[in-house]
């Protein structure tokens, strides 16, 4: 598998439009084909996309981003393709120049956020199709160079930023000192396996201490693996199932080696999509363990009375919905119940929940340097949403969202803290008595 994953990275050295086209066609299975065929070019998806809303560029219309995939499908696999080809009516082959142009459309200006999917009157899962189209782009060598580099680092070290176990171990030790709690490492037979993202480990290591407090109060056994701890999956972001599967395998190996019952998907939207929804399909087998998102688990613990909350944050707080957890992942209510448990004054953004806007950095966009200007521009809409609430602090449940939001808030000269929901919950846990 490793060799296959690495061969995808070689594609970047010699981009090949025909290879991309073959992969577009391979991705157009029955369900995707029904959706590609159903579009009536109504353009309603344009008004759902924050990139189109801020730039006004019609090329940022979500369904337009699928043109190369649609062309390849119509030319090679659509029901009347052979007849049209014989009559000279089939679309022309996709070209390298076209795919270089579409690299910006399929990556820089798409967060895979799925607002377009929600608005499409034909029920086309446009975001899902963009995810498939990226498979063609990555296989053909047309994904952004930054994502190939991140994938290379991830395959070499396990982490897209090259973070290795000693760095995590150091952060764990600091959190143990901070909380006075032991963080279990490589404990066989633990109930829960916690995996983390590089962003959390380096940017928000307090999450480790928060988890230690949560699991202590819940009375659950847990562990962090010394190998296979990285949940970030650049393969899913760039659109390479080979890279994605290779990275996922590390987590599955850790879970099976330590014989855990449940793997906790961390505060990261795309990691949840990768681990929870795509993982078994990428690996071609069902897991022997359950995958639960941390917010889902906290909500479960609170409702079961295993976590006891005391006191509430009195600031005006608003929750930013990570797209892959909420709109694409079905976790709309759990974070809201938790927010109600820890906040005395939480307010919703306009369109909160299903139709909330993306932070602008999802779907790998935050890792694409050339997309930075567009990402900050797209944040203008998020900024309007946040300002409409009059909130004093923003809460979210995704390390990438948190990082992107902090950067954008600084870019726009705003002053607003961005909090992680898990840490907020841990902060308001009833203090443990010694006897307890």
């Amino acid at each position: 598998m490793t060799e296959r994953a690495r061969s995808v990275l070689d594609a970047a050295k010699a981009p090949d439009a025909r290879r991309a086209a073959r992969e577009f066609v391979a991705q157009a299975g029955r369900d995707a084909a029904f959706q590609l065929e159903a579009c009536v070019n109504c353009g309603q998806c344009a008004d759902a996309c924050h990139f189109h809303l801020v730039t006004g560029d019609p090329r940022h219309t979500p369904i337009y981003k699928l043109r190369p995939m649609l062309k390849a499908y119509q030319r090679e696999a659509a029901p009347f393709a052979s007849v049209k080809k014989a009559l000279g009516l089939a679309p022309p082959e996709v070209t390298a120049a076209e795919l270089h142009e579409w690299s910006e459309l399929l990556y820089d200006s798409c967060n895979l956020c799925g607002r377009c999917t929600l608005v499409c009157p034909m029920g086309i899962d446009i975001a899902g199709l963009v995810r498939l189209a990226r498979e063609g782009m990555a296989a053909g060598g047309f994904a952004p160079a930054d994502l190939y580099k991140a994938a290379q680092r991830a395959l070499d070290t396990g982490s897209p930023i090259g973070l290795r176990w000693p760095a995590l171990k150091r952060q764990i030790e600091l959190q143990e000192q901070e909380t006075g709690l032991k963080v279990p490492i490589d404990v066989e037979g633990a109930e829960y396996l916690v995996v983390l993202t590089s962003i959390e480990i380096m940017g928000f290591p307090e999450i480790i201490g928060a988890l230690a407090r949560v699991f202590r109060q819940a009375g659950a056994t847990w562990t962090i693996p010394s190998t296979g701890f990285e949940a970030t999956n650049v393969g899913v972001q760039m659109g390479s199932r080979e890279v994605a599967a290779e990275l996922l395998q590390h987590i599955v190996d850790a879970a099976e080696r330590l014989k855990v019952k449940t793997v906790i998907s961390p505060e990261c939207g795309h990691a949840y999509s990768a681990l929870r929804w795509e993982g078994p399909n990428l690996l071609g087998r069902r897991y022997g363990f359950e995958v639960v998102q941390i917010v889902e688990l906290l909500d479960r613990f609170v409702r079961e009375g295993r976590l006891r909350l005391r006191g509430k944050d009195t600031r005006r707080l608003t929750f930013h919905d990570p797209c892959q957890l909420v709109r694409r992942g079905g976790l709309t209510e759990a974070p809201r119940r938790l927010m109600d448990g820890v906040s005395a004054n939480s307010v919703e953004m306009p369109g909160a929940g299903a139709a909330n806007f993306c932070c602008g950095g999802g779907g790998g966009v935050s890792a694409i340097h050339r997309a930075e200007g567009l990402r900050f521009a797209a944040f203008e809409i998020k900024k309007q949403q946040i300002e409409a609430t009059g909130a004093e602090a923003l809460v979210t449940a995704c390390g990438n969202c948190r990082n992107v939001l902090e950067e954008a808030i600084e870019h726009y000269g705003m002053t607003m803290p961005v909090l992680g929901l898990t840490e907020l919950v841990a902060q308001y846990l009833e203090p443990e008595t010694r006897a307890g």
């Binding site: 696999a77 029901p79 034909m122 029920g123 795509e278 071609g284 995958v291 694409r328 139709a355």
Partner: protein, 217 residues
């Protein structure tokens, strides 16, 4: 060929051939997509009520979600006008009911003439608004191609010829109207008009997939 001869041709071989192409072409298109196959989803579903999700997907997308309504352009609401208008004309006009009864044996009470005539007018205007929007809106202009414009023409033609044929005793306008309807039947399976049946598959597939995740539709 005389006008009577043309009408007989339109009512006879042309009708049966166009209906056969409509049926065979539609089946071919659906079968051509189905044969592409689908891999089983191995992830643990949050909900197994996939049929309910598919049905919800089909019906829920008939109206925009609340969050998107305030942004809806004229084209969104105009779409309802010509779709409903076409349905009223096709299935509410007495001569059309006779036509369907002759083919299928099924009949139902017609709508009052003035309602149908009003629908014809509204639908005609609505379809021209749709065309104007497609030509002037930068997004729709970029997206649109031959298929979109030809399909528009194929829908407008029976409406126009039908308006001319209303209460005419001359067989020629009726023959032309019937032939324009048959052109619509011939084109429907192959172009954008196939959304008439593909919409159910597309919405159903997405509805089931989102229901599986417990995600909002």
């Amino acid at each position: 060929m005389t006008a009577i001869g043309l009408l007989e041709f339109a009512r006879g071989p042309a009708l049966w051939v166009s209906l056969a192409v409509l049926a065979a072409g539609s089946l071919w298109r659906i079968a051509g997509i189905v044969r592409l196959g689908a891999k089983p989803d191995l992830s643990e579903p949050r909900s197994t009520r996939l049929l309910a999700g598919a049905l919800r997907g089909i019906f829920a997308r008939m109206i925009p979600r609340t969050e998107f309504r305030h942004r809806s352009k004229l084209g969104v609401w105009n779409g309802y006008v010509y779709h409903l208008g076409l349905a009223v004309i096709a299935f509410g006009y007495l001569p059309h009911i006779y036509f369907i009864e002759r083919l299928t044996g099924l009949a139902w009470p017609p709508l009052p003439g003035p309602v149908v005539y009003l629908s014809v007018g509204l639908t005609f205007v609505s379809l021209f608004i749709a065309l104007m929007e497609r030509l002037t809106d930068p997004v729709r202009r970029l997206l649109s191609g031959f298929d979109d414009y030809f399909s528009w023409g194929v829908v407008v033609l029976p409406l126009a010829t039908g308006m001319i044929a209303i209460q005419q005793s001359d067989p020629l306008p009726l023959a032309v109207h019937l032939l324009s309807v048959e052109l619509l039947f011939l084109w429907l399976p192959f172009g954008k008009l196939a959304h008439a049946f593909l919409v159910f598959a597309s919405r159903g597939v997405t509805g089931a997939a989102l229901a599986r995740k417990g995600a909002p539709l």
